[in-house]
Symmetry: C2
Subunit: 241 residues, 2 copies
DNA sequence: TCGATCGAAATTGTATGCAAAACTACCGCA
DNA sequence: TGCGGTAGTTTTGCATACAATTTCGATCGA
Protein backbone atom coordinates (compact mmCIF):
# COMPACT_ATOMS: atom_id res chain seq x y z
CA UNK A 1 0.00 0.00 0.00
CA UNK A 2 2.86 2.36 0.73
CA UNK A 3 3.81 2.96 -2.86
CA UNK A 4 5.02 6.45 -2.17
CA UNK A 5 7.64 5.71 0.40
CA UNK A 6 10.56 5.56 -1.96
CA UNK A 7 10.03 8.68 -3.96
CA UNK A 8 10.19 10.96 -1.01
CA UNK A 9 12.92 13.24 -2.23
CA UNK A 10 12.78 16.24 0.00
CA UNK A 11 9.93 18.10 1.55
CA UNK A 12 6.81 16.18 2.33
CA UNK A 13 3.84 16.92 0.12
CA UNK A 14 1.93 18.73 2.79
CA UNK A 15 2.16 18.98 6.52
CA UNK A 16 2.90 15.33 7.02
CA UNK A 17 5.58 14.47 9.52
CA UNK A 18 6.46 17.16 11.97
CA UNK A 19 10.07 16.16 12.29
CA UNK A 20 12.24 15.37 9.32
CA UNK A 21 14.74 17.86 8.13
CA UNK A 22 14.13 18.47 11.80
CA UNK A 23 13.09 22.02 12.37
CA UNK A 24 13.31 23.70 9.04
CA UNK A 25 10.92 21.50 7.15
CA UNK A 26 8.53 21.66 10.06
CA UNK A 27 8.60 25.44 9.99
CA UNK A 28 8.24 25.43 6.25
CA UNK A 29 5.21 23.17 6.44
CA UNK A 30 3.59 25.22 9.16
CA UNK A 31 3.91 28.42 7.19
CA UNK A 32 2.71 26.70 4.03
CA UNK A 33 -0.28 25.33 5.88
CA UNK A 34 -1.08 28.75 7.32
CA UNK A 35 -1.15 30.17 3.82
CA UNK A 36 -3.26 27.32 2.48
CA UNK A 37 -5.70 27.68 5.34
CA UNK A 38 -6.27 31.26 4.39
CA UNK A 39 -4.64 32.69 7.48
CA UNK A 40 -2.50 34.70 5.13
CA UNK A 41 -4.42 35.48 1.95
CA UNK A 42 -2.77 36.33 -1.35
CA UNK A 43 -0.95 39.62 -1.23
CA UNK A 44 -0.71 39.61 2.56
CA UNK A 45 2.47 40.78 4.16
CA UNK A 46 4.37 38.16 6.14
CA UNK A 47 5.98 39.57 9.26
CA UNK A 48 8.86 37.42 10.40
CA UNK A 49 8.38 37.87 14.09
CA UNK A 50 4.73 36.89 13.73
CA UNK A 51 5.66 33.70 11.92
CA UNK A 52 8.19 32.96 14.63
CA UNK A 53 5.39 33.02 17.16
CA UNK A 54 3.27 30.85 14.89
CA UNK A 55 5.94 28.24 14.33
CA UNK A 56 7.82 28.53 17.60
CA UNK A 57 11.10 28.81 15.76
CA UNK A 58 13.69 31.52 15.86
CA UNK A 59 14.23 33.91 13.02
CA UNK A 60 17.27 32.14 11.54
CA UNK A 61 15.31 28.96 10.97
CA UNK A 62 12.24 30.81 9.85
CA UNK A 63 14.16 32.78 7.28
CA UNK A 64 15.68 29.62 5.85
CA UNK A 65 12.20 28.19 5.52
CA UNK A 66 11.03 31.37 3.82
CA UNK A 67 13.81 31.13 1.27
CA UNK A 68 12.58 27.67 0.40
CA UNK A 69 9.00 28.86 0.02
CA UNK A 70 10.22 31.77 -2.05
CA UNK A 71 11.95 29.50 -4.53
CA UNK A 72 8.75 27.52 -4.94
CA UNK A 73 6.96 30.76 -5.74
CA UNK A 74 4.39 30.67 -2.97
CA UNK A 75 5.77 33.84 -1.44
CA UNK A 76 7.71 36.75 -2.88
CA UNK A 77 10.43 38.94 -1.48
CA UNK A 78 11.07 42.60 -2.01
CA UNK A 79 14.36 44.06 -0.94
CA UNK A 80 14.29 45.54 2.54
CA UNK A 81 10.56 45.02 2.60
CA UNK A 82 10.27 41.35 3.48
CA UNK A 83 7.95 38.72 2.15
CA UNK A 84 4.35 38.61 1.05
CA UNK A 85 2.09 35.84 -0.24
CA UNK A 86 2.34 35.77 -4.02
CA UNK A 87 -0.49 37.29 -5.97
CA UNK A 88 -1.59 35.08 -8.82
CA UNK A 89 -2.95 36.86 -11.83
CA UNK A 90 -5.18 34.96 -14.24
CA UNK A 91 -2.30 35.09 -16.65
CA UNK A 92 0.05 33.43 -14.19
CA UNK A 93 -2.51 30.74 -13.44
CA UNK A 94 -2.77 30.08 -17.13
CA UNK A 95 0.99 29.78 -17.38
CA UNK A 96 1.17 27.49 -14.39
CA UNK A 97 -1.37 25.17 -15.91
CA UNK A 98 0.45 25.20 -19.21
CA UNK A 99 3.59 24.08 -17.43
CA UNK A 100 1.81 21.62 -15.23
CA UNK A 101 0.11 20.09 -18.23
CA UNK A 102 3.44 19.60 -19.93
CA UNK A 103 5.00 17.93 -16.92
CA UNK A 104 2.11 15.73 -15.93
CA UNK A 105 1.56 14.70 -19.51
CA UNK A 106 5.20 13.75 -19.81
CA UNK A 107 4.85 11.70 -16.65
CA UNK A 108 1.77 9.98 -18.04
CA UNK A 109 3.48 9.17 -21.32
CA UNK A 110 6.47 7.71 -19.55
CA UNK A 111 4.27 5.81 -17.12
CA UNK A 112 2.50 4.16 -20.03
CA UNK A 113 5.84 2.87 -21.25
CA UNK A 114 7.71 2.14 -18.07
CA UNK A 115 5.40 1.27 -15.21
CA UNK A 116 5.45 -2.25 -13.88
CA UNK A 117 2.37 -4.45 -14.04
CA UNK A 118 2.04 -4.13 -10.29
CA UNK A 119 1.96 -0.37 -10.61
CA UNK A 120 -0.66 -0.63 -13.33
CA UNK A 121 -2.75 -2.69 -10.98
CA UNK A 122 -2.32 -0.14 -8.18
CA UNK A 123 -3.37 2.60 -10.54
CA UNK A 124 -6.56 0.75 -11.41
CA UNK A 125 -7.22 0.24 -7.72
CA UNK A 126 -6.75 3.92 -6.95
CA UNK A 127 -9.18 4.86 -9.68
CA UNK A 128 -11.73 2.53 -8.09
CA UNK A 129 -11.08 4.12 -4.73
CA UNK A 130 -11.59 7.49 -6.30
CA UNK A 131 -14.91 6.44 -7.76
CA UNK A 132 -15.99 5.26 -4.34
CA UNK A 133 -14.97 8.53 -2.72
CA UNK A 134 -16.88 10.59 -5.20
CA UNK A 135 -19.92 8.33 -4.89
CA UNK A 136 -19.87 8.70 -1.12
CA UNK A 137 -19.05 12.39 -1.28
CA UNK A 138 -16.05 12.18 1.01
CA UNK A 139 -14.01 15.09 -0.32
CA UNK A 140 -11.13 14.85 2.11
CA UNK A 141 -10.63 11.22 1.25
CA UNK A 142 -11.00 12.00 -2.42
CA UNK A 143 -8.25 14.53 -2.25
CA UNK A 144 -6.01 12.02 -0.53
CA UNK A 145 -6.65 9.32 -3.08
CA UNK A 146 -6.06 11.76 -5.89
CA UNK A 147 -2.74 12.66 -4.37
CA UNK A 148 -1.84 8.99 -4.16
CA UNK A 149 -2.82 8.52 -7.78
CA UNK A 150 -0.42 11.21 -8.84
CA UNK A 151 2.30 9.99 -6.54
CA UNK A 152 2.03 6.65 -8.26
CA UNK A 153 2.15 8.32 -11.65
CA UNK A 154 5.34 10.15 -10.71
CA UNK A 155 7.05 7.11 -9.27
CA UNK A 156 5.95 4.84 -12.10
CA UNK A 157 7.27 7.17 -14.79
CA UNK A 158 10.81 6.49 -13.53
CA UNK A 159 11.84 10.10 -13.61
CA UNK A 160 12.24 11.82 -10.28
CA UNK A 161 13.16 15.12 -11.82
CA UNK A 162 9.65 15.61 -13.11
CA UNK A 163 8.28 15.40 -9.63
CA UNK A 164 10.97 17.67 -8.39
CA UNK A 165 10.15 20.30 -10.96
CA UNK A 166 6.46 20.04 -10.17
CA UNK A 167 7.26 20.39 -6.49
CA UNK A 168 8.26 23.92 -7.25
CA UNK A 169 4.88 24.85 -8.61
CA UNK A 170 2.78 22.27 -6.80
CA UNK A 171 2.29 24.59 -3.85
CA UNK A 172 0.56 27.11 -5.99
CA UNK A 173 -1.40 24.39 -7.74
CA UNK A 174 -2.67 23.05 -4.44
CA UNK A 175 -3.42 26.56 -3.33
CA UNK A 176 -5.60 27.03 -6.37
CA UNK A 177 -7.24 23.67 -6.02
CA UNK A 178 -8.12 24.32 -2.41
CA UNK A 179 -9.64 27.69 -3.11
CA UNK A 180 -11.44 27.13 -6.35
CA UNK A 181 -11.98 23.48 -7.23
CA UNK A 182 -15.02 23.04 -5.05
CA UNK A 183 -17.28 23.08 -8.10
CA UNK A 184 -19.51 20.01 -7.57
CA UNK A 185 -20.27 19.55 -11.24
CA UNK A 186 -16.59 19.54 -12.07
CA UNK A 187 -15.94 16.42 -10.00
CA UNK A 188 -17.95 14.16 -12.24
CA UNK A 189 -16.25 15.44 -15.37
CA UNK A 190 -12.89 15.20 -13.73
CA UNK A 191 -13.56 11.60 -12.80
CA UNK A 192 -14.54 10.79 -16.35
CA UNK A 193 -11.31 12.34 -17.62
CA UNK A 194 -9.28 10.33 -15.16
CA UNK A 195 -11.07 7.18 -16.26
CA UNK A 196 -9.93 7.81 -19.79
CA UNK A 197 -6.40 8.57 -18.67
CA UNK A 198 -6.26 5.43 -16.60
CA UNK A 199 -7.60 3.30 -19.43
CA UNK A 200 -4.94 4.67 -21.75
CA UNK A 201 -2.22 4.05 -19.18
CA UNK A 202 -3.36 0.50 -18.54
CA UNK A 203 -3.32 -0.13 -22.27
CA UNK A 204 0.20 1.37 -22.34
CA UNK A 205 -1.01 3.63 -25.11
CA UNK A 206 1.30 6.61 -24.98
CA UNK A 207 -0.55 8.73 -27.47
CA UNK A 208 -3.92 8.20 -25.85
CA UNK A 209 -2.41 8.88 -22.46
CA UNK A 210 -0.99 12.11 -23.76
CA UNK A 211 -4.30 13.18 -25.17
CA UNK A 212 -6.21 12.25 -22.03
CA UNK A 213 -3.77 14.05 -19.77
CA UNK A 214 -3.90 17.21 -21.83
CA UNK A 215 -7.68 17.10 -21.94
CA UNK A 216 -7.85 16.66 -18.19
CA UNK A 217 -5.62 19.57 -17.42
CA UNK A 218 -7.14 21.86 -19.99
CA UNK A 219 -10.53 21.30 -18.41
CA UNK A 220 -9.15 21.85 -14.93
CA UNK A 221 -7.47 25.02 -16.06
CA UNK A 222 -10.64 26.40 -17.56
CA UNK A 223 -12.59 25.66 -14.41
CA UNK A 224 -10.07 27.41 -12.24
CA UNK A 225 -9.82 30.41 -14.52
CA UNK A 226 -13.58 30.67 -14.72
CA UNK A 227 -13.73 30.56 -10.94
CA UNK A 228 -11.17 33.31 -10.73
CA UNK A 229 -13.07 35.56 -13.08
CA UNK A 230 -16.32 35.00 -11.18
CA UNK A 231 -14.52 35.81 -7.99
CA UNK A 232 -13.00 38.93 -9.46
CA UNK A 233 -16.42 40.18 -10.47
CA UNK A 234 -17.84 39.42 -7.05
CA UNK A 235 -15.16 41.12 -5.05
CA UNK A 236 -15.25 44.87 -4.82
CA UNK A 237 -11.76 45.66 -5.91
CA UNK A 238 -9.26 43.58 -7.81
CA UNK A 239 -6.69 42.47 -5.33
CA UNK A 240 -5.64 40.24 -8.18
CA UNK A 241 -3.69 42.47 -10.46
CA UNK B 1 19.25 44.42 -27.69
CA UNK B 2 18.36 43.90 -24.06
CA UNK B 3 15.57 41.45 -24.71
CA UNK B 4 16.06 39.70 -21.42
CA UNK B 5 15.50 42.60 -19.10
CA UNK B 6 11.83 41.89 -18.45
CA UNK B 7 11.93 38.22 -17.72
CA UNK B 8 14.24 38.56 -14.83
CA UNK B 9 12.25 36.75 -12.20
CA UNK B 10 14.68 35.99 -9.44
CA UNK B 11 18.26 34.97 -9.47
CA UNK B 12 20.42 36.06 -12.34
CA UNK B 13 21.51 33.36 -14.71
CA UNK B 14 25.06 33.35 -13.60
CA UNK B 15 27.23 35.67 -11.64
CA UNK B 16 25.86 38.78 -13.26
CA UNK B 17 25.33 41.73 -10.98
CA UNK B 18 27.01 41.52 -7.66
CA UNK B 19 24.31 43.42 -5.86
CA UNK B 20 20.64 42.61 -6.30
CA UNK B 21 18.84 40.75 -3.63
CA UNK B 22 21.78 42.49 -2.06
CA UNK B 23 23.89 40.00 -0.24
CA UNK B 24 22.09 36.71 -0.51
CA UNK B 25 22.01 36.43 -4.26
CA UNK B 26 25.63 37.52 -4.38
CA UNK B 27 26.59 34.78 -1.96
CA UNK B 28 24.50 32.29 -3.87
CA UNK B 29 26.18 33.23 -7.14
CA UNK B 30 29.64 33.05 -5.64
CA UNK B 31 29.07 29.56 -4.29
CA UNK B 32 27.49 28.47 -7.54
CA UNK B 33 30.42 29.81 -9.48
CA UNK B 34 32.85 28.06 -7.16
CA UNK B 35 31.11 24.77 -7.87
CA UNK B 36 31.00 25.41 -11.61
CA UNK B 37 34.66 26.31 -11.64
CA UNK B 38 35.48 22.95 -10.15
CA UNK B 39 36.66 24.34 -6.85
CA UNK B 40 34.19 21.97 -5.27
CA UNK B 41 33.81 18.87 -7.41
CA UNK B 42 30.79 16.60 -7.30
CA UNK B 43 30.47 14.81 -4.00
CA UNK B 44 32.67 17.29 -2.20
CA UNK B 45 31.71 18.33 1.28
CA UNK B 46 30.83 22.00 1.71
CA UNK B 47 32.03 23.40 5.01
CA UNK B 48 30.06 26.46 5.98
CA UNK B 49 32.86 28.37 7.60
CA UNK B 50 35.01 27.86 4.52
CA UNK B 51 32.28 29.25 2.27
CA UNK B 52 31.93 32.20 4.61
CA UNK B 53 35.57 33.02 4.01
CA UNK B 54 35.08 32.56 0.28
CA UNK B 55 32.05 34.82 0.07
CA UNK B 56 32.82 37.19 2.89
CA UNK B 57 29.36 36.70 4.31
CA UNK B 58 28.29 35.51 7.72
CA UNK B 59 26.79 32.10 8.31
CA UNK B 60 23.18 33.25 8.42
CA UNK B 61 23.30 34.64 4.93
CA UNK B 62 25.38 31.78 3.68
CA UNK B 63 22.93 29.24 4.98
CA UNK B 64 20.04 31.01 3.30
CA UNK B 65 21.94 30.89 0.05
CA UNK B 66 22.63 27.20 0.57
CA UNK B 67 18.94 26.51 1.05
CA UNK B 68 18.30 28.11 -2.29
CA UNK B 69 21.00 26.05 -3.98
CA UNK B 70 19.65 22.95 -2.30
CA UNK B 71 16.18 23.48 -3.73
CA UNK B 72 17.69 23.79 -7.19
CA UNK B 73 19.41 20.46 -6.64
CA UNK B 74 22.97 21.60 -7.07
CA UNK B 75 23.83 20.66 -3.51
CA UNK B 76 22.35 18.15 -1.09
CA UNK B 77 21.89 18.22 2.64
CA UNK B 78 22.14 15.42 5.13
CA UNK B 79 20.80 16.01 8.60
CA UNK B 80 23.48 17.15 11.04
CA UNK B 81 26.05 16.49 8.41
CA UNK B 82 25.79 19.58 6.28
CA UNK B 83 25.89 20.01 2.54
CA UNK B 84 27.79 18.42 -0.30
CA UNK B 85 27.83 18.97 -4.04
CA UNK B 86 25.25 16.68 -5.61
CA UNK B 87 26.50 13.58 -7.30
CA UNK B 88 24.92 13.05 -10.68
CA UNK B 89 24.51 9.49 -11.75
CA UNK B 90 24.10 8.72 -15.44
CA UNK B 91 20.51 7.89 -14.64
CA UNK B 92 19.89 11.29 -13.12
CA UNK B 93 21.48 13.00 -16.08
CA UNK B 94 19.17 11.07 -18.33
CA UNK B 95 16.18 12.15 -16.27
CA UNK B 96 17.31 15.75 -16.26
CA UNK B 97 17.57 15.76 -20.02
CA UNK B 98 14.17 14.15 -20.33
CA UNK B 99 12.70 16.93 -18.27
CA UNK B 100 14.70 19.63 -19.95
CA UNK B 101 13.64 18.38 -23.35
CA UNK B 102 10.03 18.56 -22.34
CA UNK B 103 10.31 22.11 -21.05
CA UNK B 104 12.45 23.54 -23.81
CA UNK B 105 10.32 21.87 -26.42
CA UNK B 106 7.22 23.37 -24.89
CA UNK B 107 8.89 26.75 -24.97
CA UNK B 108 9.79 26.28 -28.61
CA UNK B 109 6.27 25.26 -29.55
CA UNK B 110 4.78 28.25 -27.80
CA UNK B 111 7.40 30.56 -29.29
CA UNK B 112 6.40 29.42 -32.75
CA UNK B 113 2.85 30.49 -32.03
CA UNK B 114 3.28 33.55 -29.86
CA UNK B 115 6.52 35.35 -30.57
CA UNK B 116 6.35 38.76 -32.19
CA UNK B 117 7.89 39.40 -35.57
CA UNK B 118 10.55 41.46 -33.88
CA UNK B 119 11.45 38.51 -31.69
CA UNK B 120 11.59 36.27 -34.73
CA UNK B 121 14.03 38.67 -36.28
CA UNK B 122 16.17 38.73 -33.15
CA UNK B 123 16.21 34.96 -33.14
CA UNK B 124 17.47 34.87 -36.70
CA UNK B 125 20.12 37.42 -35.78
CA UNK B 126 21.29 35.37 -32.81
CA UNK B 127 21.61 32.30 -34.97
CA UNK B 128 23.81 34.29 -37.33
CA UNK B 129 25.89 35.46 -34.39
CA UNK B 130 26.21 31.89 -33.29
CA UNK B 131 27.42 30.81 -36.70
CA UNK B 132 30.02 33.54 -36.57
CA UNK B 133 31.20 32.48 -33.12
CA UNK B 134 31.60 28.91 -34.16
CA UNK B 135 33.37 29.89 -37.33
CA UNK B 136 35.81 32.03 -35.38
CA UNK B 137 36.11 29.48 -32.59
CA UNK B 138 35.30 31.90 -29.80
CA UNK B 139 33.80 29.52 -27.28
CA UNK B 140 33.14 32.03 -24.52
CA UNK B 141 31.25 34.25 -26.90
CA UNK B 142 29.44 31.23 -28.30
CA UNK B 143 28.21 30.29 -24.89
CA UNK B 144 26.98 33.79 -24.29
CA UNK B 145 25.12 33.94 -27.57
CA UNK B 146 23.59 30.58 -26.92
CA UNK B 147 22.36 31.78 -23.58
CA UNK B 148 20.84 34.81 -25.25
CA UNK B 149 19.16 32.58 -27.79
CA UNK B 150 17.48 30.60 -25.05
CA UNK B 151 16.59 33.70 -23.08
CA UNK B 152 14.80 34.95 -26.14
CA UNK B 153 13.05 31.63 -26.54
CA UNK B 154 11.83 31.76 -22.97
CA UNK B 155 10.64 35.33 -23.13
CA UNK B 156 9.05 34.89 -26.53
CA UNK B 157 7.04 31.87 -25.48
CA UNK B 158 5.06 34.10 -23.12
CA UNK B 159 5.26 31.73 -20.21
CA UNK B 160 7.51 32.72 -17.36
CA UNK B 161 6.81 29.60 -15.39
CA UNK B 162 8.69 27.48 -17.87
CA UNK B 163 11.80 29.46 -17.30
CA UNK B 164 11.24 29.35 -13.59
CA UNK B 165 10.95 25.57 -13.63
CA UNK B 166 14.05 25.26 -15.75
CA UNK B 167 15.89 27.56 -13.39
CA UNK B 168 15.65 24.80 -10.84
CA UNK B 169 17.49 22.34 -13.00
CA UNK B 170 19.46 24.75 -15.13
CA UNK B 171 22.28 24.83 -12.63
CA UNK B 172 22.92 21.19 -13.09
CA UNK B 173 22.50 21.50 -16.84
CA UNK B 174 25.11 24.23 -17.00
CA UNK B 175 27.31 22.21 -14.76
CA UNK B 176 27.16 19.34 -17.20
CA UNK B 177 27.64 21.56 -20.20
CA UNK B 178 30.70 23.14 -18.70
CA UNK B 179 32.33 19.87 -17.83
CA UNK B 180 31.48 17.70 -20.76
CA UNK B 181 30.28 19.60 -23.82
CA UNK B 182 33.71 20.52 -25.01
CA UNK B 183 33.51 17.92 -27.76
CA UNK B 184 34.63 19.86 -30.86
CA UNK B 185 32.78 17.66 -33.31
CA UNK B 186 29.57 18.15 -31.39
CA UNK B 187 29.51 21.89 -32.02
CA UNK B 188 28.94 21.53 -35.74
CA UNK B 189 26.11 19.11 -35.29
CA UNK B 190 24.61 21.24 -32.56
CA UNK B 191 24.70 24.24 -34.84
CA UNK B 192 22.98 22.30 -37.58
CA UNK B 193 20.24 21.26 -35.15
CA UNK B 194 19.75 24.82 -34.04
CA UNK B 195 19.50 25.93 -37.66
CA UNK B 196 16.62 23.53 -38.14
CA UNK B 197 14.96 24.65 -34.93
CA UNK B 198 15.30 28.28 -35.89
CA UNK B 199 13.92 27.67 -39.35
CA UNK B 200 10.90 25.92 -37.86
CA UNK B 201 10.35 28.74 -35.39
CA UNK B 202 10.61 31.41 -38.06
CA UNK B 203 8.05 29.50 -40.11
CA UNK B 204 5.88 29.35 -37.00
CA UNK B 205 5.66 25.62 -37.57
CA UNK B 206 4.86 24.19 -34.16
CA UNK B 207 5.25 20.55 -35.11
CA UNK B 208 8.56 21.04 -36.83
CA UNK B 209 9.77 23.12 -33.93
CA UNK B 210 8.81 20.34 -31.56
CA UNK B 211 10.63 17.77 -33.63
CA UNK B 212 13.74 19.91 -33.99
CA UNK B 213 13.88 20.72 -30.29
CA UNK B 214 13.54 17.09 -29.31
CA UNK B 215 16.19 16.06 -31.80
CA UNK B 216 18.56 18.72 -30.50
CA UNK B 217 18.20 17.71 -26.89
CA UNK B 218 18.33 14.01 -27.56
CA UNK B 219 21.63 14.49 -29.33
CA UNK B 220 22.96 16.68 -26.54
CA UNK B 221 21.89 14.13 -23.99
CA UNK B 222 23.64 11.31 -25.78
CA UNK B 223 26.83 13.32 -26.06
CA UNK B 224 26.84 14.12 -22.38
CA UNK B 225 26.05 10.57 -21.35
CA UNK B 226 28.74 9.24 -23.64
CA UNK B 227 31.17 11.67 -22.10
CA UNK B 228 30.21 10.52 -18.65
CA UNK B 229 30.75 6.88 -19.49
CA UNK B 230 34.13 7.61 -21.05
CA UNK B 231 35.05 9.56 -17.96
CA UNK B 232 33.92 6.74 -15.71
CA UNK B 233 36.13 4.30 -17.55
CA UNK B 234 39.10 6.63 -17.43
CA UNK B 235 38.90 7.43 -13.77
CA UNK B 236 40.18 4.86 -11.37
CA UNK B 237 37.20 4.55 -9.13
CA UNK B 238 33.62 5.57 -9.70
CA UNK B 239 33.02 8.66 -7.67
CA UNK B 240 29.83 8.69 -9.65
CA UNK B 241 27.65 6.14 -7.98
C1' DT C 1 48.21 -5.27 14.34
C1' DC C 2 43.69 -4.46 14.93
C1' DG C 3 39.73 -2.79 17.17
C1' DA C 4 37.29 -0.34 20.81
C1' DT C 5 36.81 3.64 23.68
C1' DC C 6 37.11 8.07 25.08
C1' DG C 7 37.94 12.96 24.55
C1' DA C 8 39.12 17.11 22.08
C1' DA C 9 38.39 19.72 17.90
C1' DA C 10 35.53 20.82 14.24
C1' DT C 11 31.09 21.50 12.32
C1' DT C 12 26.33 22.00 12.18
C1' DG C 13 21.87 23.51 14.48
C1' DT C 14 19.61 27.09 16.89
C1' DA C 15 19.00 31.45 19.31
C1' DT C 16 19.95 36.13 20.21
C1' DG C 17 21.72 40.89 19.32
C1' DC C 18 22.71 45.05 16.82
C1' DA C 19 22.40 48.35 12.91
C1' DA C 20 19.96 50.13 9.00
C1' DA C 21 15.94 50.69 6.42
C1' DA C 22 10.96 51.37 6.19
C1' DC C 23 6.71 52.57 8.11
C1' DT C 24 3.66 55.49 11.30
C1' DA C 25 1.98 59.15 13.52
C1' DC C 26 2.33 63.49 14.95
C1' DC C 27 3.29 68.30 14.40
C1' DG C 28 3.99 72.71 12.22
C1' DC C 29 3.05 75.55 8.50
C1' DA C 30 1.16 77.55 4.32
C1' DT D 1 -7.53 71.63 5.03
C1' DG D 2 -3.62 69.73 2.97
C1' DC D 3 1.19 69.03 2.72
C1' DG D 4 5.90 68.15 4.17
C1' DG D 5 9.03 67.04 7.51
C1' DT D 6 10.54 64.61 11.53
C1' DA D 7 10.85 61.61 15.62
C1' DG D 8 9.80 57.10 17.19
C1' DT D 9 8.49 52.51 16.38
C1' DT D 10 8.56 48.46 13.73
C1' DT D 11 10.74 45.34 10.75
C1' DT D 12 14.21 43.59 8.03
C1' DG D 13 19.34 42.64 7.03
C1' DC D 14 23.24 40.93 8.82
C1' DA D 15 26.41 39.22 12.38
C1' DT D 16 27.64 36.86 16.42
C1' DA D 17 27.15 33.55 20.30
C1' DC D 18 25.90 29.28 22.40
C1' DA D 19 24.41 24.30 22.28
C1' DA D 20 24.35 19.78 20.17
C1' DT D 21 26.25 16.61 17.12
C1' DT D 22 29.69 14.57 14.46
C1' DT D 23 34.46 13.67 13.22
C1' DC D 24 39.02 12.49 14.12
C1' DG D 25 42.81 10.92 16.58
C1' DA D 26 45.14 9.10 20.42
C1' DT D 27 45.35 5.71 23.86
C1' DC D 28 44.63 1.25 25.69
C1' DG D 29 43.83 -3.64 25.63
C1' DA D 30 43.47 -8.09 23.39
Amino acid sequence: MKATSDIDSGKPTHAVEQQRGSLRSHVENTVRAAIFDGLYPAGQKLVERELCDLTGASRSILREALVSLEVSGLIERESNRGYRVSLLSARQVYEIFELRASLETLAAELFAERASDAEMQQLAQLLEDLEACIASGDLTQMRLVKERYYELLFSGCRNREIRRALENIIDRVHYLRGRLMSDPDRRQKSLEEMRRLTAALLARDRLQARAASIAHLTAARDTVLEGMLRKDETETAGLMQ
